[in-house]
Amino acid sequence: MQDSTSVGIVTPQYVQIDKPLQLKSGASLDSYHLVYETYGRLNAARSNAVLICHALSGSHHVAGYYADNEKGIGWWDNMVGPGKPIDTNRFFVIGVNNLGGCHGSTGPASIDPQTGKHYGASFPIVTVEDWVEAQANLAEHLGIEQFAAVVGGSLGGMQAMQWTLDYPEKVRHALVVAAASKLTAQNIAFNDVARQAIMTDQEFYGGNFYAYDTLPRRGLRLARMLGHITYLSDDSMAAKFGRSLRKNELSFGFDVEFEIESYLRYQGDKFADLFDANSYLRMTKALDYFDPAAAYDGNLSAAFRTAKADFLIVSFTSDWRFSPERSREIVKALLDNELNVSYAEITSSHGHDSFLMETPHYHQLVRAYMENIAV
């Protein structure tokens, strides 16, 4: 039976943008394309558009499924759909794959029109600011002058914040979930270990593995396993796996014994088959570089002086990678600027991944917040 709260079958769309994009790194892209999906209908006043920004491993495929793959449900399908907290009966919702990604937008695995070969290592480092500018070009293409809301979790929340800084007139509300205004040293350290795992893989070939018809699977797998550990909490891993063994006895060897090992290897393998190693490197760099306060001597309140949007900031108690403390820093900066802001600290045991979970209280709050947004 058709699920009435699913957006149903969706089709990705492409836009080719020939306006050169000057990147923060100093490099530039003469042209690029973005893949995106839309759900719901843009109203006549064009006032009901909501942009969903994805995190490290997400994509433009936010909700629904494809005609040829009913199991490939969008990564935030529990949040976006008809009657869901971000209600596609009211809002025109857009998901977009970021530049440098590997789900269809121009990225390291794309063919460089100037060379006819994969970009590979030559694909520039992209930042949250660059993504926001590319997304603004997509908005222009869709005829959207102002978003009712820009929404994102984790790295996606960073983009939502950046939108309010770069385009204060174009965002009425920003929903910033499980995010931070900058990564801590510990967080950057995790990212670097992940990058080292990839870059020291013999199959990486300095980022040009496409030419050798191979993949740095081992490195990407390790990177994902490490990341995955940090996205969960000690409690949630204990509850889900504990010390359970696959067989009933110890084998006194190095094969998979504990269920957690099996789970992580499975997650790593799955990811290594689907994700591009060069994209992973660039996504983690975008995380590391994000720090809007840096241009203001570390004063985040000064950074938000130009922002005009209303904000919802959400954190999760067991999230130790983007802890509630980081969200409270954002709240403080918004309060200092007398902006409309609400802050919720959701009790959840699922760690950083909580933002993707269907925790009733969390979804009720997002729903209530979205219902108050005029369109």
Binding site: V331, L335, Y343, Q364, Y369
Partner: protein
């Protein structure tokens, strides 16, 4: 904000009116322990204030969202470190003081963050409360609706007690209002009043 939110029906609450009467229109407000947000919403609708509520309870937080007010989820017992000094015209603590562990600490924080503080609390010195104690029981009444073993009220006080705390905290009392059954009390307020309201500021 859109029109989904129905017109306020909470104007019927005289304790809201008592606080609203002290608030200058357009003021910036921080409402500590704001509950479901109805006081802040009332002040927004009647006094055109801008402000934030602070609330710890998940259920109340959702009600605040439904009331369309700004609310920050935070434990008042940990202080107000997320708020700048002198950043609000009024910091309100409406019928929450008696349930707080760090009573003196929150008064100090109110004086730091706000130009003025407004506190309301049930008067333990009300004669009927005194009578119940004389008769051998902890008081249970309309303003103190809990029994001793299930009450969240751990720091009940009288008007005299609160005024002494203000002196101790270097707070100057600007105005006091005492009510009983929604009517103002002028004669023997510490005996006849059930609910007390104070407006105060930092001395010097």
């Amino acid at each position: 904000m859109n029109d989904i939110i129905a017109p306020s029906t909470i104007a019927l609450r005289p304790d809201f009116d008592a606080i609203a009467a002290w608030i200058k229109p357009g003021a910036k407000i921080l409402d500590l322990g704001c509950g479901d947000g109805s006081l802040l919403r009332y002040l927004r609708d009647t006094r055109n204030v801008f402000g934030y509520g602070v609330e710890i309870d998940d259920g109340n937080l959702l009600k605040c969202f439904n009331n369309g007010i700004n609310v920050i989820q935070n434990d008042l017992e940990t202080g107000l470190s997320g708020f700048e000094s002198d950043s609000f015209d009024y910091v309100i603590l409406s019928q929450t003081l008696q349930a707080m562990r760090h009573t003196e600490g929150i008064i100090q924080e109110m004086l730091r963050v706000g130009k003025e503080g407004i506190v309301s609390f049930p008067n333990f010195g009300y004669w009927k409360n005194r009578m119940q104690v004389i008769c051998g029981h902890m008081p249970v009444s309309q303003s103190l609706p809990y029994r001793w073993y299930d009450t969240p009220n751990i720091h009940l006080c009288t008007l005299g007690d609160f005024e002494e705390l203000c002196r101790q905290c270097n707070a100057r009392i600007l105005e006091r209002r005492v009510m009983n059954n929604n009517r103002p009390v002028h004669f023997l307020p510490n005996v006849m009043g059930t609910l007390a309201f104070y407006r105060f500021e930092r001395k010097g």
